[in-house]
C-alpha cells in the first residue's frame, strides 16, 4: 500500500469522489441530496486541479483557479439550497419526481 506512487493514490481519490457523487446524482430523488452529490463532484475536480498544478510545477496558478472553483461551488450550494427551500414551501415536497408534474 505504501509503495504506490502518490499521484496514483490521489487520482484514485479523485475518481472515487467523482464516481460516488455521480452515482448519487443519478440515483437520488431528494433535492438536498442532489446538492451533496454536486459538492462531492466539485471537491474531486479541484483536487484534480491542484494535483495537475503540483505535477507541472504551476501550483500558484492552480491555487488561483481552485479559489475560483471554491467560490463557484459555494454559490452553487447557496442557490441550490435556496431553490430547495422555496420548492419545499411552494410544493410541499423535496422529491424530484413529484416536481415533474409541472410539465402537465
Amino acid at each position: 500500500m505504501t509503495n504506490l506512487p502518490v499521484p496514483f493514490i490521489i487520482v484514485l481519490t479523485i475518481l472515487g469522489l467523482v464516481g460516488v457523487g455521480f452515482y448519487c446524482l443519478l440515483a437520488t430523488r431528494n433535492l438536498i441530496k442532489v446538492i451533496v452529490a454536486l459538492q462531492l463532484i466539485i471537491k474531486g475536480v479541484f483536487l484534480a486541479f491542484v494535483l495537475a498544478g503540483n505535477l507541472t510545477g504551476m501550483i500558484s496558478i492552480a491555487q488561483t483557479m481552485g479559489l475560483t472553483v471554491i467560490v463557484a461551488d459555494t454559490i452553487v450550494a447557496v442557490i441550490g439550497l435556496s431553490m430547495a427551500v422555496q420548492i419545499r414551501h411552494k410544493m410541499g415536497t423535496l422529491d424530484t419526481k413529484a416536481l415533474s408534474s409541472l410539465k402537465r
Binding site: 455521480f22 448519487c24 443519478l26 431528494n30 500558484s60 481552485g66 442557490i79 423535496l94
Partner: protein, 162 residues
C-alpha cells in the same frame, strides 16, 4: 503513507455521506469529507487553498446545509431511485473507466510530486478576468441567501400610523 490514509478517509466519508438515511447526518459527513480534502490539499503544497477550503467548504457550506435542512424539514429517504440502480452503476463505471483510460494515456502517473514554496500571490497576483467572475458569483450568492431567508410571498401588512 499519509496520502493513503487521508485518501481512504475521504472515500469512506464520501460513501457515508451518500448512503446515510438522514439528511443532517449526510451534511455532517460532507463536512468531514471537506476537511479531509483540505488536509490533502495541504499535503499537496496548496496551503492557502487548504485554509480557504477548510473555512468555506467545511464551515460555511455546512452551516448553510444545516440551516436549509432545519427550515425544510427531514423527509423520509426511502424513495425508490429514478433509474434502476444497475443502470446508474453502469453509467458510473463507464464514466470512471473513460477517465482512467484518459489518465493512463496522458502519462500523468509517471510524474513525481514537486513541493514548490508558494508566495501568497495567489490572491491578487495571477488574477485577471476571474476576479470579475467572482464578484458576479458573490452577487449571485447574496441573491441566493435572500431566497433562502425569504418566506415566499411577502405579506403586505397595513400599519396604522397613529
Amino acid at each position: 503513507m499519509w496520502y493513503a490514509i487521508v485518501a481512504a478517509g475521504i472515500l469512506l466519508c464520501a460513501i457515508l455521506a451518500v448512503t446515510s438515511k438522514k439528511l443532517l447526518v449526510s451534511a455532517i459527513w460532507l463536512a468531514v469529507t471537506s476537511a479531509l480534502v483540505a488536509l490533502m490539499l495541504y499535503l499537496l503544497g496548496a496551503q492557502q487553498l487548504a485554509v480557504i477550503e477548510l473555512s468555506v467548504g467545511a464551515g460555511l457550506v455546512t452551516v448553510l446545509f444545516v440551516f436549509a435542512i432545519n427550515i425544510s424539514g427531514e423527509e423520509p429517504m426511502s424513495l425508490k431511485p429514478v433509474m434502476p440502480k444497475a443502470l446508474a452503476w453502469g453509467l458510473v463505471i463507464i464514466a470512471v473507466g473513460m477517465t482512467i483510460f484518459l489518465t493512463l494515456k496522458s502519462g500523468v502517473l509517471g510524474l513525481t510530486l514537486q513541493m514548490p514554496s508558494t508566495a501568497s500571490m495567489i490572491l491578487w497576483g495571477n488574477r485577471y478576468l476571474d476576479i470579475l467572475l467572482q464578484i458576479a458569483f458573490i452577487f449571485c450568492g447574496v441573491l441566493g441567501v435572500l431566497g433562502l431567508l425569504s418566506d415566499g410571498k411577502p405579506e403586505i401588512q397595513e400599519e396604522d400610523e397613529e
